[in-house]
């Protein structure tokens, strides 16, 4: 063989091997389009899409965590696989482990990294950039969602800490947003920042700071998490699963009976005659809060600011009648009959109901219930949910106790991937 090669193929062989080696090396050098390399985002022209992405991940977090929160806190009832209570209350470790659920933590990280990248790219211009203020607002909303919902906090793969650190991070971001928005004269961003900070401060116990912020936000103001009906990732799941796939139902919730009793446009319901729930049961009760898959979900709004003020008077200063008046002014604005109360406790109950109505399907109940102690005795929405559970003969559901009752756990994925969590 070697003789043959030597005699016949010495330099052609070399040439062929060189050609082949060159072909092999160059052929494997492939760049595929579509994805964006990390380094490509560190330029000023990419910051707009970076901030849009931060907001987009907040949308995803709202979408994924939102419906679970509503089902677990009495805003909606779930049908079949959408009944998070069945899996979560029974202790299934994978109950809340879908990618959308995990996106809540990711949204916080994306905001952190995005803000840090913007500081690096913009340098001294950062504090005069409306984009930076917007990034801070989205970051604040992301961390408020985590702080209001989760039992513990964890940052960037670190060790677990108290959930209040989420709220403190949110407060910090809203503060930065407010400062930059003021500096650039963007009143909408400033209102979003102040309103967001007010909503965080009530859960940090800073009532005076909260009220000071809230008073600066007009009642008609609203900053929303943006949804888009044409994109599954941004779809308003509360609409879609209630009025299209019918896996989420208002039936048997507090809002079912409230909707039948009151003609409140903020919490109206419709009971179609020809559509059942996904499991074939009737009735399927629709909400009218969102009537399209692209309807945005309010995140900061002036009406909540008024309720913060009302709660401050009812629970902090003892001026419960003053607080009740604020509540009833909101109801009057909505054309709904006022709540009545003869003492502070009744005024507090009225406030709880009003917060539940005003913030219904906005995924904010976690913070309220944690702040109020999350007991059915003191909360009409929870009371109705537990009553429903007790009446559902098949469920055999024990009302959860301990942390599982008042906040959400780390996902199984987070527990299994973070070595700092036992």
């Amino acid at each position: 063989m070697m003789k043959f090669i030597k005699n016949n193929m010495r330099w052609p062989r070399t040439a062929v091997l060189v050609v082949l080696a060159g072909m092999a090396t160059s052929a494997c050098d492939v760049v595929n389009p579509g994805r964006i390399l990390d380094a490509d985002l560190s330029q000023e022209g990419a910051l707009r899409v970076l901030v849009n992405g931060i907001g987009g991940d907040v949308t995803l977090a709202y979408r994924g965590l939102g419906w679970n929160l509503e089902v677990l806190t009495g805003g909606l009832t779930g049908t079949s696989a959408y009944d998070s209570r069945i899996r979560h209350w029974r202790g299934n470790p994978n109950a809340l482990d879908a990618e959308d659920y995990n996106s809540a933590w990711a949204a916080g990280w994306v905001a952190d990294q995005g803000i840090a990248r913007m500081q690096e790219v913009l340098g001294g211009e950062f504090n005069n950039s409306a984009l930076a203020a917007e990034a801070y607002v989205w970051g604040g909303i992301a961390y408020r969602l985590l702080g209001e919902s989760m039992c513990q906090a964890v940052f960037d793969g670190g060790a677990p800490t108290d959930r209040s650190e989420y709220l403190e991070r949110a407060e910090e971001y809203f503060t930065s947003a407010a400062e930059i928005a003021s500096a650039v004269g963007n009143s909408s961003l400033r209102n979003a920042a102040l309103g967001g900070r007010a909503s965080v401060r009530i859960n940090l116990g800073d009532w005076q700071g909260a009220v000071a912020d809230a008073q600066q936000v007009p009642t008609a103001y609203e900053w929303a998490v943006i949804m888009h009906g044409g994109d599954t990732r941004e779809r308003n799941e509360i609409f879609y699963e209630n009025q299209r796939r019918t896996n989420l139902n208002v039936r048997y919730s507090f809002f079912h009976s409230y909707g039948e009793e009151f003609d409140d446009p903020r919490a109206d319901i419709v009971i179609p005659t020809d559509v059942g729930a996904a499991d074939g049961s009737f009735p399927q009760v629709w909400h009218t809060k969102y009537t399209a898959a692209g309807d945005d979900v309010p995140a900061v709004k002036g009406t909540e600011m008024r309720l913060i003020e009302a709660e401050y008077y009812i629970t902090q200063t003892g001026e419960w009648q003053r607080g009740l008046d604020i509540v009833n002014q909101l109801r009057a604005d909505a054309g709904v009959a006022p709540w009545t109360a003869s003492n502070q406790a009744e005024a507090f109950t009225a406030l709880k109901k009003e917060r539940a109505i005003v913030l219904w399907l906005e995924h904010r109940r976690g913070g309220d219930l944690y702040r109020w102690g999350n007991t059915a005795a003191g909360d009409p929405v929870l009371a109705k949910m537990y009553e429903n559970v007790a009446q559902s003969d098949g469920h055999e559901l024990a009302i959860p106790q301990g942390e599982r009752a008042i906040c959400l756990p780390f996902s199984q994925t987070l527990v299994s991937t973070n070595p700092n969590i036992s």
Partner: protein, 954 residues
Amino acid sequence: MKTRPIFSSALSSRLIPSVVAVLLFAATTPSLAQTGSISGQVTASGDLRPIVGAQVSIPETGLGTLTNSQGEFLIVNVPAGLQRVTAQMIGYSTETNEVDVSSGATVNLDFALNQTALALDEIVVTGTAGAARRREIGNSIGSIRSETLENETILSAQDAITGTVPSLQVNMNGGDPGAGGSIRIRGANSMTQGNRPLLYVDGVRMENDLFPGSMSNQAASPLDDINPNDIERIEVIKGASATTLYGTEASGGVIQIFTKRGQAGPPQWTAEMSQGISHVGSIGPGGESAAYLEKYPGAEDLFMRQWLQTGHEQDYGLSVRGGAEAMNYFLSGHVSDQTGVLPQQASSGLSLRGNLGFNPVPSLTVQFTGSASQRNIDWIPLGNLAKGFSLNIMRGPHDYVADADSVFLTEYETKENINHFITGTEFRFNPSANFNAKLNLGLDYADNDYNRTEVFGSLLEPEGIRVARRWTSQTRTVDLQSTYVQTIGALSTNTSIGFQIFQNKRLQVQGTSRNFAGPGNPTLNTGSSQTTDEDRLEEVNAGLFVQELLGLADKFFLTLGARVDGNSAFGEDYGLQFYPKASLSYVISDESFWPAALETSRLRFAYGESGKAPGYFDAERTWNPISSLGGLPGVTPSTRGNPELGPERSKEFEGGFEITMLQNRLIVDASYYHQTTDNALIELPQDPSTGFVSSQIDNAGSFINKGAELAIDATLVSTNRLTWGVGIIGSTMTSEILELGATPSIFLGGSLTPGMFAREGFPLPAYWGAKLLNPNEVAAPEVEEQYIGPMYPTRTISVSSFLNMGRLRANARVEHQGGHYQLSHTAWRNAQRGVWPPCFSVAEQIDAGNLSQLTAQERFECGSSFIADWGAYISPMDFIKLRSVSLAYDVPANLLGGRMGDLTLSLGGRNLWTTSDYVGVDPEAVDDNDSLTRHEYYNMPIPRVFTFTVRSAF
């Protein structure tokens, strides 16, 4: 022995630009010596039936041809003098005879070949550099021969490989017309990179993944674009010990299909017409109770009986093969049409093939193969789909649309159009008996046009939805091999080098449109809300290999080889890959000490390595472009990236033996294999607080697969009038995950698909579920999680039998798969809703408010309102299926008056009978197409098919 100059000096100078030029233009001067011809017939010894397509050649001259439909051959321009002529046909012993050729004369030479399943001199080309005789190869090779393809009821190319080779596991995933199946060889050896073997057609690599999925939760298979009537034979090599020369991507095995070629002689036409019916007798356990119908008056049948219909299948084919001295051709056309067992299910197809071969000069053979096929599939929504037809019917009153199930037929339309072209040209250069080279250039192009519409005003999407997707795949093959053979006394050497490039480009463009302006026949433009998605992916794999095959006395063979591979998906910090191989083959029956009773016996051992590359973007940290803030451009984290990412590497040892006894009537082929996959690419879940929600691929795992394979062919009766044989194919397979990196337990499902895990110390993948601790207690179920079993079969057995009685031939094949488990969502989710017939009595108790009086077992299995546990519905999938039955009759020519050539009538059946204790609708029905994990979710069972075929050769 006559030889010719290997290279002239002029030829050497032309080698410089490229090897391609060498092979195309390196012509040597043909011999001008005086010549004659050789003619004759090749028949099977025993019943003396003509053997069609046998290769008759004169190795020392490079001349050869194939026999025609009468088994006849003619070789012209044979140099005068004594010539050694060899006749070969797969499935038959090779015979060589000498004949003296006179100038200007034609000499007759007939061959009678013995039928055998162990033809050691059979030429094999898959898995070895160049062509090699089976006796020289140290690994097992599965061969599916033309007899099998002609005699069994084969409706698709997938059918051709089902149950025919040990450890080649094929499952039909669904009974929908056009649905492709799952193919695995020796189990799953990759957790993330797919386990489908590589597919080759006539040396051209073709798309081996299923096409993108449909609204039926099934997907068509590119393999089924090949007309089974065009297939001459199939070779299957199974693991890393055999696939080393295919390098990265080949650890799941290789299946190579060889299509029919032309032959010297007048045109031989074959016309075929087939008509058939398909049906599903019943679905589910049945037993809807009177109480159920009383509770839901007028309720539809839970298991779709009022919708099931008899499907119709029809196929028409025409082919011609022929040739002359220096060229040959095979042309075929085939049309088919099929309706399903449910309304609106349909699939129709057209395929054309042209295989042309010619010899521009005696030392160069050019073989062109080309096929074009088109399929149109009408799907209906089935499977895991809220808008699914079967889901909503089978859930009875507890569904999404109450009694309006027909909307899924009237308001939905899903169509798929597939165009598939596979073309290749092989240049085979044989300048001398010692040296040969081969260049294969190929292109596989598949185009899949899919669209679905939910009409304006539909019940669940009143604004309407339109989805249109265009998916294309191009795979280019450049395969260059050369071999030099030398014999020195008893020692032979066979040295090969080769170079291969495979390039795959995939394009997917998809648009979704919502909110139609009004009724009508929509396009994407119709909706006011539109989203798009585009993916363009390219992967290149290039490698060099060298192989040395040493033979001693034609009975002892040692093969050493290696491949060096590069792949575009390797990380930046990862170099080329080196895959070694070694094998030993010992034809021990050629030794004088070997007992004569063990007629032909061979021992073989092989070791080899191959791999699988990571995905396109796995090595890099990337962000995904997204629509955000109501349609504005944004980015979100995609892959964390790992620059050190490389291929997972499979190492396999295989040993076995082959023995024939009783005058070739009993043939035993046994193998044992042990396969280890190191640096396995694992999808490691990411801590979501670090921003990356999607899993990151990492070389972190290690698995083993091991098992035994046995193939027995027994000819029980062999006379001139009757031949009766039985074949048994069996395999065992055990897998174990040795290591999963930092995450010893990885959940493979989702909140809707529980119980599926990869866990160290257990098979890949496997089911876990709840074990009931207090079954007889009147109380709520107390459960603990336990291991249930693997998802893939641990044993397969296929038993076939043929009976040839002159003009009458009968064949049957029964297949068993067992040892595996599957979750039937159909059963579980119906039980949760109180509409699973075995649970009706318990559901009635619950409805009556007597839940507290039920035992834990009753609640565990049948507790409605989501008490029933999935663990109760993960059940053994062991099954036995009558895969194929056929009865064929060759009509005597005198009855036809000689006007119709050779006419064969045949009755066939496929999947006619199934027995299984599986709780769901069918032990082969699965959702999610071809993913690693398997579960059934309101999928359609596999229908029975009966066919009647008329075939005429003239």
